[in-house]
Amino acid sequence: MATVVTLPRLSDTMEEGVIAKWRIKVGDKVKRGQVIADIETDKATMEFESFDAGTVLKLVAPEGEALPVGATIAVFGQPGENPDAVDGGAKPKPADKPATDKPATDKPATDKPADEASESDADEEADEKPAKASAKPVAPKPQPESVAEVKHAEAVNEASAAGGDSPAPKATSQGTGPEGQADRGRIPASPLARRLAREHDLELGQIQGSGPHGRIVKADVEQAIAKGPTRAAAATGTSAHVPSASQPAGSPAADVDEHGRPYISRPDRSVKLSQMRKAIAKRMGQAKREIPHIYLTMPIVMDRAVALRAEFNLSVDGTKASLNDLVILAAARALRKHPRVNAHFTDNGIVERGDVHVGVAVALDDGLIVPPVRFADQKTLKQVSIDVRDLGTRAKEKTLKPEEMTGSTFTVSNLGMFGIEEFCAIVNPGEAAILAVGAVQDEAVVEDGKIVARKRMRVTLCSDHRVFDGAESAKYLQTLRKLLESPLSLLT
């Protein structure tokens, strides 16, 4: 019996992954526990050890394509077995979906076959044929809808969910132009909408669906009928309009140089989102939408800290502490004194975290990750320094384990090495604050009525105003300043 290998969930937040590299090929004998692929998740590239044994019959997932957790990536079995025998049932399984993800019950499982049967009549729409043909090679792009259908086939209690459930995600591809059609595969439309479109000689591909999953319903077709004839006219109208409109507007003058030669125009470049960019986009978007940020900036005189670090590195073997390590340590110690800053907001209340794990933002080629220095408040400067270096190196190699990349309770982000004086960062969801650290710079400072040269650094505490207010933030920054301006205490 052939076994379907599915894309595993390799971290808590992983929703999709990319086979970075296959380590097996068709015909290989695979043992349980053998590394069969490198999988790129939202956080790292990890080795995937097989849960199953057998001969590789088929590698379904191509390298480099994003797939949802649970998608079929390979088929194992006995040599000579037909891998396609299981293919049909090997569509993405909803097993990993959370239980709250109710089936979209307005889409009876029988909808499709019934629909298709009727459409195979002689009066089949012309637009159906290319769509169907292309559906095969493009094949099982696992969309939410198909998952819902699989689930639905099991969840027979249709009526129960009628009581109220989630709005189903809109159809993934809403392309309305004829060129968009190939991507849409079979176009979801109610039987009535199909009939009306047929009777009015409208192509479904030209109509935008407003129902669940982008289903075209009666109202959509009626709307299309209403403006049917104007559309074709409008299409030709606008294309003819563009150049003529641009002439009198006068703006094209800007598109030529003083000799009247046009500037070179280059096409836009689309960049596929990496798993990490997707994760960053999601979490940062969430943070900015949900967290009311407040920003307070504190200047800190760093002369003593700079001196201490130099001396420390000379006298303690095998370490090369950076100023940032000192800041991380000071930030962690200060959190002990201000537990509210080491917290996070929930709907049920504020949770002050018992442990201090300071996340260190590490910039990578395309994104960043924030591995935590665990129990940073209890570590020595030397240990913090070792940890930070190790995390940074391995983050760049993408070899950190998932558990090494999560769990921070507070974050330090330093852009000082780029000469940034000060900046505002975005709070990491699940934390209450992030410390944005600027560059240490020589500045003219007035002390006791005299102008003196001092090394100054600006730090900005960016925090969740729901968890604490400006005064608490200021007090934390005062504690931090005291620790860094009298840094010997950090060695205790």
Binding site: T105, A159, S160
Partner: protein, 326 residues
């Protein structure tokens, strides 16, 4: 026109038929001296005597079988189940004798009789006494199944049932016996297989029967407040079923919701959907939804029972969904 409760309409139907035809008699638990567990046979013992109004022991298999035998021999029994949940004990009699004898004897014997009583969930009767039996009986060729929701329908349909030449399952509802309505004084009959539009509308067809009717009507009120016009069709008879009325309405509204007591798996709700998709496929603008029990045995606890029973709110939600409103 006099205003009667459903229980009085049922009583009047039996009384008039017993006066009209001396072959008609009533048999069941507490139908005589107690005047019926729900007072549906009030006064009948006094009027017709113990030969025609017969109290039985708690022996559903027995008195259902005696009724079938009596019907085969030319009488017209009305068998009252104190609730249709107890008919489960007599299921073999109904399935294999009442439904099949005309067929098996090549018409030498008919079984003209009525099984009647309250059906479906009432209020906190627990899992074994809260079941809807139309889904079992409507499955069986040889039976007719009727469910009533108003005094007018109850009287007209019960008289038709008593005069029918075949076994009829006549489903009432414990919580609806005191529902009041106008009933004409002059005699009338309601033929089987005729649905009644309880509320006209043009946006969503809501198909229902029996205890589902008040739920559907309330949901239609709520929907009207949101500017969704529901046409509520009370099927009244489930076997035979007024397919034409359903299809006519669905062709008008392009969408349907079915509200009923009973579980979602199998059953009359799914059967109606099958007919709609077969006969009105090209007129559907949305999937047909059902609002019925959750797929669970009925809990005794009131709060849990309320979650499982079809409610106007759940029906409204389904109406919104098929109307693509939210």
């Amino acid at each position: 026109m006099p205003i009667l409760q459903i229980r009085q309409a049922i009583r009047d139907a039996m009384k008039e038929e017993m006066e009209r035809d001396e072959r008609v008699f009533l048999m069941g638990e507490e139908v005589g001296y107690y005047n019926g567990a729900y007072k549906c046979s009030e006064g009948l013992l006094d009027q017709f005597g113990a030969k025609r109004v017969i109290d039985t022991p708690i022996t559903e298999t027995g008195f259902a079988g005696i009724g079938i035998g009596a019907a085969m021999c030319g009488l017209r029994p009305i068998i009252e189940f104190m609730t249709f949940n107890f008919s489960a004990v007599a299921f073999d009699q109904i399935l294999n004798n009442a439904a099949k004898l005309r067929h098996m004897t090549h018409g030498q014997f008919g079984v003209p009789m009525v099984f009647r009583g309250p059906n479906g969930a009432a209020h906190m009767l627990g899992s074994t006494h809260s079941q809807a039996f139309e889904h079992f009986y409507a499955h069986i060729p040889g039976l007719k199944v009727v469910a009533v929701a108003t005094p007018y329908d109850a009287k007209g349909l019960l008289k038709t049932a008593i005069r029918d030449e075949n076994p009829v399952l006549f489903l009432e509802s414990e919580l609806m016996y005191s529902v009041k309505g106008e009933v004409p004084e002059e005699e009338y009959l309601i033929p089987f297989g005729q649905a009644d539009i309880k509320r006209p509308g043009d946006a969503v067809t809501v198909i229902t029967w029996g205890q589902g009717v008040p739920v559907a009507l309330k949901a239609a009120d709520l929907a009207a407040a949101e500017d969704i016009s529901c046409e509520v069709i009370d099927l009244r008879s489930l076997r035979p079923m007024d397919e034409a009325a359903i299809i006519k309405s669905v062709k008008k509204t392009n969408r349907a919701v079915i509200v009923y007591h009973g579980w979602p798996n199998g059953g009359v709700g799914g059967d109606i959907i099958a007919r709609i998709q077969e006969l009105a496929f090209d007129d559907l603008d949305a999937p047909v939804l059902r609002v019925c029990y959750e797929d669970l045995p009925m809990p005794y606890a009131e709060n849990l029972e309320n979650l499982i029973l079809p409610s106007p709110e759940r029906a409204l939600e389904a109406v919104r969904r098929v109307a693509y409103k939210r």
